[in-house]
Point group: C2
Chain length 192, copies 2
Amino acid sequence: MKLLEDRIERDGQVLGEDVLKVDNFLNHQIDPDLMTALGAEFYARFKDTKITKILTVESSGIAPALAAGMQFHVPVVFARKHKSLTLKDDLYTAEVYSFTKKTANMIAIAQKFLGPADTVLIVDDFLANGQAVEGLIDIIGQADATLAGVGIVIEKTFQKGRKLLDDRHIHVESLARIAAFENGHVVFEQED
Amino acid sequence: MKLLEDRIERDGQVLGEDVLKVDNFLNHQIDPDLMTALGAEFYARFKDTKITKILTVESSGIAPALAAGMQFHVPVVFARKHKSLTLKDDLYTAEVYSFTKKTANMIAIAQKFLGPADTVLIVDDFLANGQAVEGLIDIIGQADATLAGVGIVIEKTFQKGRKLLDDRHIHVESLARIAAFENGHVVFEQED
């Protein structure tokens, strides 16, 4: 998606070998007009599937997932990373390891919000090692819901997440695909 | 706001003396169409002020704040509750005590996203004791930014947050104002 690639080139910041910081438009400061455009693009790519629910993980996934939900007009559920006092029973849970933070978290979704009648689109801000998406897929399995596909804002194709999903024949759409970082610059995957 | 009050009556769940659970449309499962309506209402109530930025706190504030940002076409910044590896320097921070969770958190915003040129609208899902909003106001002060006002989805008028803000002559707009819970039902404040 040209608009997103241009924005990454303009405002993204490459840190070290494999970190792209996009905190000024995606995951700390959010550009709402860009989110609207991303939501429309997710809709264009998945509109032929009858999505009933969008699933993501707090916090960075919420903005693109909500923008997608506004296009599909279906509920957006975000998994919480730890339990609160008013959300403790009847949960689907999965463990998610963060390579960035080097910690494992539990993610949880109230069982009442996901069931066998649901066809789910997962939306997340990044796909790198795929741990968060794997956790959400695990939860979709626990709920006997159907996974329609995975919509990602920024994918790093050189990390293992995409391959894990391709090996399972999951429909993945990433709006920007980064093949490498070279000399502090982003190299995008060449699309066919 | 009638639409929101109706939704609270239909889907809200009163727990004990002072907790309203709205996790099926606001803070776990999110209704995107409702968010769009809330965003439009915040715009209607604050459109005469030249807002440059919307500020909230992860995670439950993000959806209504983003929906408002889509109307104002200004960036939305969400304060993070704890630091990540890629967000550690040059932060404005404030301590926020949660009466629900009975814990204190630091909230933090990168300094580069808030400055003296900004006129800020705070948006949050709930106003109860006002601790999160007070933390954000503290941060706005540290940044020498201007506070335009506070937009709240659901206010519990019987807790102290609203009075704290009124005492400081801050412009507060709450889209639903709950005066009490009686026998498990919500009693809304009578508007003039």
